[in-house]
């Protein structure tokens, strides 16, 4: 674990985290005369259609004598265009100065603002630039980084999945994160709620480091529910990074390009939960198409809507993951055997567990929410017995009640000769 660097502030200001609405884009240097630019940029983020009408041309500060790095700094901080698209044009041998816009901020101000936020901007070839062997596709031209630079992809594993995964799958993400941390691997994931957050939390709980790749400015508190997690990642020596300049809002179009970075930052991608249209599929396919990237998938039942995408990936040739050992196996690392964290959260059956409770839990193992009347109908148990069995399961920590019904949060451990699950009673 790298030591905590005192000069790096968490990019999410205290005042921000407490306010109700989404934070206003605010990346102009204080006192500067470019408030109009900021507003224009915000409008630009909201309505891409306006981009076509904006005046093209170089900013007022530009002179041919400006060093190339300064021009790149201004380009990276230019609000509006998708960084991946700009990087594609740069790779197509466009002159960076040609891509500047009239509202591209002055490089000195950009540097001052980055210092103020405790961020660094990395360019290809800089020390700490992660994409040395296999670059992402489309390429990446710069990275805004909070915390230490990310480790090289070989040592990292991406753990990704949907925002609305079932609690059982979240538990899988958590235990994989913890298990990977336990064998010294860095966990890479997005900054979303759900599987991303569970994987980061697992890795941190396991004493490891994590890299969160976000789809907005690093100073933008999004998603709000993860603000505390981001602070913790930085405090424990992890990294937040992204291509978007400070103040950039989390536009939907940002996330698929973000996923290619996740894939490129890790030697393998483990997809824990992906519905039919999950963004995790983009991550996995980016990893698969990149060459060296390996795709591992936690499978699901064919009828489980939270696993449609997972099963598709397995059909397409991804490696099926039953547990941490399968991931380590794929990475060529030594399997840790029976001492590994179990994949799902297991609990031992309490002594004297009723048959009714067992019958109900068997109906819930896909992780879906089932109304209690439906549980009674499906199990054939009388209403009173169903109700009592739900509470028995709840008290034993296997299910939780939601406004819409009952959902499993853990599965009972089944002791077998080959794999002895570690029972953790809470």
């Amino acid at each position: 674990m790298s030591p905590r660097s005192p000069e790096v502030h968490p990019p999410l200001g205290e005042g921000r985290a407490g306010t109700a609405g989404p934070p206003a884009p605010d990346h102009a240097p204080p006192g500067g005369g470019s408030q109009g630019t900021v507003r224009q940029a915000a409008a630009d983020h909201r309505a891409p259609g306006r981009r076509a009408r904006r005046a093209r041309g170089r900013p007022a500060w530009w002179t041919p004598e400006r060093p190339a790095r300064e021009v790149m700094l201004a380009l990276a901080a230019t609000p509006g265009p998708l960084p991946a698209a700009v990087a594609g044009k740069l790779a197509g041998a466009n002159d960076p100065a040609e891509l500047l816009r009239p509202d591209s901020p002055e490089p000195g101000r950009v540097a001052a603002r980055l210092d103020e936020l405790g961020l660094r901007l990395l360019f290809p070839g800089d020390p700490g630039w992660p994409f040395v062997e296999v670059p992402p596709e489309p390429p990446c031209a710069w990275l805004f980084v909070a915390g230490p630079p990310p480790p090289l992809p070989d040592g990292s594993v991406a753990v990704v999945g949907g925002r609305r995964a079932s609690p059982l799958r979240l538990a899988v993400a958590h235990s994989l994160g913890a298990g990977l941390a336990g064998v010294g691997r860095c966990v890479v994931s997005g900054g979303a709620v759900g599987v991303d957050a569970a994987a980061h939390a697992g890795a941190l709980d396991g004493g490891g480091r994590t890299v969160a790749v976000v789809g907005c400015g690093l100073d933008v508190a999004y998603p709000r529910a993860n603000v505390a997690l981001f602070r913790r990642i930085l405090a424990e020596g992890g990294t937040l990074l992204g291509e978007h300049p400070p103040g950039a809002r989390p536009m939907p179009a940002n996330f698929v390009p973000r996923n290619r970075l996740i894939a490129a930052l890790a030697g393998a991608v483990v997809v824990v939960a992906a519905g039919g249209r999950s963004g995790s599929l983009a991550t996995a396919r980016a990893a698969g198409s990149r060459g060296g990237g390996r795709v591992l998938v936690v499978p699901g039942a064919p009828w489980d809507p939270g696993a449609l995408g997972c099963n598709d990936l397995i059909r397409e040739g991804a490696t099926l993951v039953r547990g941490l050992d399968d991931v380590l196996d794929e990475l060529g690392a030594a399997a840790v055997g029976g001492g590994a964290e179990p994949l799902a959260r297991h609990r031992p059956w309490p002594p004297g567990a009723s048959r009714a409770a067992r019958a109900l839990l068997a109906l819930l193992v896909d992780g879906q929410v089932l109304g209690s009347s439906r549980l009674a109908t499906l199990s054939g148990l009388p209403a009173a017995a169903t109700a009592a069995a739900v509470v028995e399961l709840e008290l034993a920590g296997f299910v939780r009640r939601l406004p819409g019904g009952v959902q499993a949060v853990a599965v009972p451990s089944v002791a077998s000769p080959t794999r002895i699950a570690v029972a953790r009673d809470g």
Partner: protein, 503 residues
């Protein structure tokens, strides 16, 4: 010449005796009404003049002074038309003064001289009996209602001419018909409900223990259908309760003319756009009963609980606690009875499909949190039971046989209520916290289970007491002396979800 008789003024649910004094004296032709009447009372003089003319009576072209003592009692509505008209007839000498001595009358006059029904006649009849009336004259439309009060002679009239003829001794009044109560109308039966085993069970428990119930389920799952069936599970209204219900309906003007006595428990389902005055009672100067009182002794159903304005929900706390509601307006402060069973319904999430087997929920976690906060509003600490109502599947709809009908359920509810009355003299939902454990008598296993629940489910003190009361009701339904651990388990499965219990 001065004529005197009596009538009654309705304030809230109670009618107070009011004198009617009509004096015809010297002076320019004019009609003065004194004695704190509202606009409708003042309009009486215009209606009277037209009614007199059209019914063929002579209008006295002299100075007419009408007083309605006591002057400090607020008087509303058009029920004073008939007594004033009778007073005028007596003051002009058209009818003998002896005929109006001890006479009470209420009723509105149409411009053609017809006598129209008014609200609150039941209360007026009670006031007339208590005031020692010789006869109460009411509109024919209200006759059956007035006749509900024993020990009072009542007569109905449908026109001013009939009243005049009666007072001159030339004709009779309509006598009250002997049939007072409607044959108990069929209420919705549980046999119509397909599936929903847990929701049925929750309804039974709610009916047995007087617990308030929250139904959570997707739109179209049958929450309203279930709520409607609760009143069929409650015991039939006894005579006193029926009179209470009728009195509220009478004050609201909702009594059925032919069969005035309420036979079924009321079911009220106000829309969530309802105002505060509509819910708890109100109106200008003198309040009228609101939905909580119209649901007295019956069921108040709040569909889409989260959509009800917070102040309206807050205002339900007093009636839920005390069984009555006090409404204060400029002219009067009125207490209305409001002892009802509350059934609330809510969608599980803003889109309504969380946990739905058919349609996927599209709410984000932040939406869910916000919704849970809105739902866990002021009312939830008055609700003991919460149950999921699932969408009924197609094969369940196709089942020819419905579920258990209401009658056997009602019998079990009756037996459980009898046990409660014998034990504590009140329904379980109203057992006081002090001595609750003693009354509920949990077995050692049930005690242990409750302790575990406090530990693992984060049960609050209030949740603990609530679970104990509900478990007591469940044990009463089984006819058991002590509360067993399975009773507690079932009670816990029906507990409310805390707002924080969200993904």
């Amino acid at each position: 010449m001065l004529a005197r008789l009596a009538t009654a003024a309705l304030v809230g649910l109670t009618a107070y005796p009011v004198g009617v004094e009509v004096d015809i004296g010297r002076g320019l032709p004019a009609v003065m009404v004194v004695g704190l009447g509202d606009a409708a009372v003042l309009e009486a003089r215009d209606r009277l003049r037209a009614a007199f003319g059209n019914a063929g009576f002579e209008w006295p072209d002299r100075r007419v002074t009408i007083s309605l003592p006591p002057s400090d009692l607020p008087k509303q509505g058009s029920g004073f038309d008939l007594p004033i008209a009778i007073g005028l007839l007596a003051a002009t000498g058209a009818v003998p003064q002896a005929a109006v001595d001890g006479l009470w009358a209420v009723g509105e006059l149409g411009l053609g001289g017809d006598v129209r029904g008014v609200r609150g006649v039941l209360a007026s009849a009670i006031a007339a009996r208590d005031g020692g009336a010789r006869l109460l004259l009411v509109p024919a439309a209200n006759l059956a209602e007035a006749a509900l009060v024993p020990g009072l002679r009542v007569g109905g009239a449908s026109s001013l001419a009939q009243v005049d003829a009666f007072l001159r001794g030339e004709a009779g009044l309509d006598p009250p018909s002997p049939c007072l109560a409607a044959a108990s109308a069929p209420v919705e039966d549980l046999a119509d409900v397909r599936g929903q085993p847990l929701a049925r069970r929750a309804l039974e428990i709610a009916a047995a223990g007087g617990h308030n119930l929250l139904l959570v389920g997707p739109p179209g799952a049958g929450k309203t259908m279930l709520a409607r069936r609760l009143r069929g599970l409650l015991p039939e209204l006894d005579r006193d309760e029926a009179l209470e219900v009728t009195q509220v309906l009478s004050a609201a003007g909702l009594v059925h003319p032919g069969t005035p006595l309420a036979s079924a428990r009321p079911f009220r389902a106000p829309h969530h756009g309802i105002s505060m005055a509509g819910m708890v009672g109100g109106g200008p100067r003198v309040p009228r009963p609101g939905e909580v009182s119209l649901a007295h002794r019956g069921v108040l159903f709040l569909d889409e609980l989260a959509e009800f304005p917070r102040p309206v929900c807050e205002a339900l706390r007093q009636p839920l606690e005390d069984g009555e509601v006090t409404v204060v307006r400029s002219a009067a402060s009125v207490r209305f009875p409001a002892r009802f069973s509350l059934v609330a319904a809510a969608n599980p999430c803003p889109c309504g499909h969380l946990g739905d087997a058919v349609l996927a929920c599209r709410c984000g976690s932040e939406d869910l949190r916000r919704y849970a906060r809105r739902l866990s509003g002021p009312l939830l600490d008055r609700i003991d039971l919460c149950v999921h109502v699932d969408r009924v599947t197609a094969d369940q709809l196709g089942e020819s046989a419905g579920g258990e009908p209401s009658a056997p359920v009602r019998a079990r509810v009756h037996a459980a209520r009898a046990l409660q009355q014998a034990r504590a003299g009140s329904e379980n939902a109203r057992l006081p916290v002090a001595g609750l454990a003693g009354l509920c008598a949990p077995t050692p296993a049930a005690r242990r289970l409750l302790a575990i629940a406090v530990d693992r489910l984060g049960l609050t003190a209030r949740g603990f007491h609530r679970a104990l009361r509900v478990a007591r009701t469940i044990a009463d339904l089984a006819g058991a002396d002590g509360v067993a651990d399975d009773d507690v388990r079932e009670a816990l499965s029906l507990r409310l979800l805390a707002g924080a219990d969200q993904p």
